[in-house]
């Protein structure tokens, strides 16, 4: 019997209409856990670098985390893995909500989709009964609209649905996969789903997910739950300069109405302008009133006591659900206000687009227009006001009409296509993907490394465990570390206590920076393999889940015996495999840089040193390619063999990349 996991994947070939239930190899669970880890393994094995995002041979994998659907609080994540049309690397997108647990109950750990359907279809998974059905009647329907129609059509109010909107159907590179309360939004996974002709996946499951050592496992779950209760009632007191919101459990953006930190620290428009005096008493009152009017309820994902989401009912519009910072992305990109943010997010959610990238693409287009690079000829019929323009451009992009067809490929590819100096306006990207609109002063060495090397290409999915700033006094820092049980080692407390404010970029010292970055990232990789939500774990300071309780939680759930060292090793293996997939697709050191204007004060020598040291720390060579020795140490011999065969690693030395360092 398999514990925590079901032991079966669903293999769907949309070209041939073939459906298979395939038993998985339990030894892969031992090596990679599940979720991201086993997704990456499948992608490495079955999608060689010659396969493009819109090739029928590209896979679209919905992988539930290993603990997903067990009673472990917040274990509900589904990891969506494919080749991204935007970055041409592995897309690392995720969603919470209710889809993953339902899939597990239907008896599957993953859905692996290949091929392309000649006509629009949806997948209906009802326990053992799986069908590919015609979806022509759903063409052009919104994400939530589709879900509602399918629930009625199938008379299954309990079914969970992941669907694309019009954006996915039209292969917009920022298309998301919408799932009611949650969505897999980053890196264009919705475009791949649309390319495959798959409108939606409907799941209903009523089977058990078993636990290996139930009494021990429940004891751990109850411990986590009481810690959550404590943290929900007692927000952390944070160092100056850190936003209040990070002191809470979860990302309680929909509960809080104080937006001073986001509106004054994040850049407006096309990630350009800081408005340090924007937040006034009057604004606060007006925004509060707006939020109270439309957010009718705070909502949570499957088995999670934290309420990161909001049920949003804007008068006259279909109710939708929102989470996190997306409430401000459109608002700030359009230099508008919160009321507009809630209105346009409703339409954007139905279309199914990424709420981070899309507003930036629109602001980018409007900047090009102001600069005369795009003209009235490119924008026939565009309204005069900023809000009107945002709605107009959103429609054009999602429909791929006129200039929208160019913009739908994201700022990087659009700029290349437009030319005339447009490249300089696509200034906020890493690895071709739009980033949070942050423009700051002094180089932050910790964030420098995370921005450069993060393969999720999305900072909020890498950071979290270590405070963003130190307390002013040493006493306060000593106080902070007293109950810091989550650190993997006592030395992390020392790094923090010794960190004086205002000592960037040389402090914390590079070796500490490497250690801190590695720890922060590792915790996210554990979450992504287990399906725990970062908002109750890796994204959170002093979280309920940490390196000391996770091995026991995973072991008691699965029956495998994993200790801390074992969990680190699995995590490194997964991390390294993701790197290897991207290295095989051409990722090198030259791609690993933050947006040029992210910090005003830059230190090229220090930055090079940080990268050198971090690569070494990670077991990678100077090009960021995992060394042969390191790969073999993780049991990834098949990876090193492949990299050697392709000439990416040399056989003799292993540590030398064929491409020299001078390439950067």
């Amino acid at each position: 019997m398999r514990y925590a996991e079901t032991g079966f994947n669903l293999e769907i070939d949309l070209s041939r209409g073939n459906i298979e239930r395939v038993e998985t190899d339990p030894s892969l669970t031992k090596l990679h856990l599940g979720g991201l880890g086993t997704n990456a393994k499948i992608l490495w094995d079955r999608v060689p670098p010659e396969v493009g995002p819109f090739s029928p041979d590209n896979l679209l994998i919905f992988g539930t985390g290993l603990l997903c659907c067990t009673p472990a609080p917040s274990a509900n994540r589904t990891i969506v893995t494919t080749i991204s049309p935007q970055t041409l690397l592995m897309a690392y997108s995720m969603m919470g909500g209710f889809f993953g647990p339902e899939l597990k109950k239907a008896g599957y750990d993953k859905i692996v989709i290949r091929g392309k359907s000649p006509r629009l279809v949806y997948l209906w998974i009802n326990n053992d009964q799986v069908e590919i059905r015609d979806a022509s009647h759903l063409q052009g329907k919104g994400g939530n609209e589709t879900a509602e129609l399918l629930r009625q059509e199938l008379r299954e109010p309990e079914a969970q649905i992941a669907a694309i909107g019009l954006a996915g159907e039209n292969r917009v590179y920022t298309a998301s996969i919408e799932q009611g309360k949650s969505s897999a939004s980053r890196q264009g996974v919705g475009a791949v789903m649309g390319d495959k002709g798959l409108k939606a996946i409907v799941v209903r499951g009523t089977k058990d997910v078993n636990i290996a050592r139930p009494a021990e496992f429940m004891e751990m779950c109850n411990e986590v739950l009481s810690f959550m209760k404590h943290r929900l009632q007692n927000p952390l007191k944070l160092p100056d300069g850190m936003p209040i919101i990070l002191g809470y459990l979860g990302i309680q953006e929909m509960a809080l109405d104080d937006e001073e930190w986001h509106t004054t620290n994040f850049a407006w428009g096309n990630a350009r302008h800081r408005r340090k005096d924007f937040w006034t008493k009057e604004t606060e009152e007006r925004w509060k009133e707006t939020q109270e009017k439309v957010v009718t309820r705070l909502i949570g994902c499957y088995n999670c006591p934290i309420r990161c989401g909001g049920s949003v009912s804007y008068p006259g519009l279909r109710t939708y659900m929102m989470k996190c910072y997306s409430k401000l992305t459109y608002t700030m990109a359009a230099m508008s206000d919160l009321d507009f943010g809630f209105r346009i997010a409703q339409r954007a959610t139905e279309y199914g687009v990424d709420g981070f990238s899309t507003p930036q693409i629109i602001a980018f287009a409007l900047e090009l227009y102001e600069a005369g690079i795009l003209t009235d000829q490119d924008m026939p019929g565009m309204p005069c006001d900023s809000e009107g323009r945002f709605f107009w451009l959103l429609d054009m992009i999602v429909r791929r009409e006129g200039i929208g067809d160019v913009l739908a490929n994201g700022t990087h590819w659009a700029a290349q296509q437009i030319g005339k100096g447009a490249e300089a306006y696509a200034h906020n990207n890493i690895k071709k993907h739009e980033q949070l609109p942050l423009k700051l002063g002094m180089l932050n060495p910790i964030y420098f490394l995370m921005y450069c090397t993060g393969e999720k290409i999305n900072i909020t999915q890498i950071e979290g465990q270590f405070p963003q700033a130190p307390h002013t006094s040493r006493e306060a820092r000593e106080e902070f570390v007293k109950d810091w049980i989550q650190v993997p080692h006592e030395r992390f407390k020392e790094y923090f206590v010794n960190w004086e404010p205002g000592t960037f970029p040389h402090n914390p010292p590079p070796e500490a920076v490497c250690d801190i970055v590695d720890w922060q990232e590792a915790m996210h990789y554990i979450d992504d393999a287990t399906g725990l939500c970062a908002a109750s774990s890796s994204f959170i300071l002093k979280p309920p889940y940490h390196i000391h309780n996770l091995p026991r939680i995973i072991s008691s759930a699965t029956g495998m015996d994993i200790d801390e060292a074992g969990l680190w090793e699995i995590t490194r293996r997964n991390r390294t495999l993701v790197r290897a997939i991207n290295v095989r697709r051409g990722l090198r050191r030259k791609d690993e840089k933050p947006p040029e204007d992210h910090w005003k004060k830059r230190f090229p020598e220090l930055e090079a040193k940080l990268l050198d040291e971090y690569y070494k720390f990670k077991g990678w060579n100077s090009q960021g390619i995992p060394t042969k020795e390191f790969l073999q140490g993780l049991g990834l011999n098949y990876v090193s063999e492949d990299l050697v065969k392709r000439g990416i690693l040399t056989d003799s030395e292993g540590n030398q990349a064929v491409a020299g360092k001078e390439e950067q």
């Binding site: 009673p71 088995n303 999670c304 109710t319």
Partner: protein
């Protein structure tokens, strides 16, 4: 006049406005009552969050009596501008819906308030305070308590099987099983 008889009334107060729709109550309920214990399957839960997210409706409802037939008519309630069907509040394990039935056998489920635990576990796991456990003593008048039959779980199950297959078939099956030992 002697003192009236008292009985302990166990209540769960449900604040639908506070429900976040996370279904933690379903998860812990089904895990606690599962065989083997703590295997997870909220389809077996004795509390269900009846929900329609796109209408902002969330109603936690506890499994109550088994009923062999569905209601004749069903009324609608409008509360705070939102329309609810009568079933949205109904505790019955009834033929009109899948809730409150074992998914494999279709046999009815009923909330037992997690007998033996300090408080019902759904209440313990509801950190958003939508569920609150309350106990109170009530004086019982008139009808003698002793005369009332308390139906045990097995009896409810049997009754529903009799409804489904007819008494004779159930008796035959029981006899066959007894022979096999």
């Amino acid at each position: 006049m002697g003192e009236g008889k008292k009985k302990l009334v166990k209540t769960i107060k449900i604040d639908v406005d506070k429900c976040s729709g996370c279904r933690a109550c379903e998860v812990i309920c089904s895990a606690f009552h599962a065989t083997p214990k703590y295997s997870s399957n909220n389809a077996r839960s004795r509390i269900r969050v009846i929900h329609e997210p796109l209408k902002d409706k969330y109603v936690p409802v506890y499994a109550g009596e088994y009923t062999a037939a569905e209601c004749m008519g069903r009324d609608k309630y409008v509360i705070d501008g939102k329309e609810y069907g009568e079933c949205d509040f109904c505790r019955a394990s009834c033929p009109s819906r899948n809730s409150f039935k074992e998914p494999d056998s279709g046999l009815p489920l009923r909330c037992d308030m997690c007998e033996g635990e300090e408080e019902p576990l759904c209440v313990k796991w509801c950190l958003v305070d939508a569920l609150t456990y309350e106990e109170r003593e009530e004086e019982v008048e008139g009808i003698e308590e002793e005369g009332e039959e308390k139906k045990e779980e097995m009896e409810i199950t049997l009754e529903s099987m009799v409804d489904k297959y007819g008494l004779q078939k159930v008796v035959d099956a029981a006899a066959r099983m007894a022979k096999k030992g």
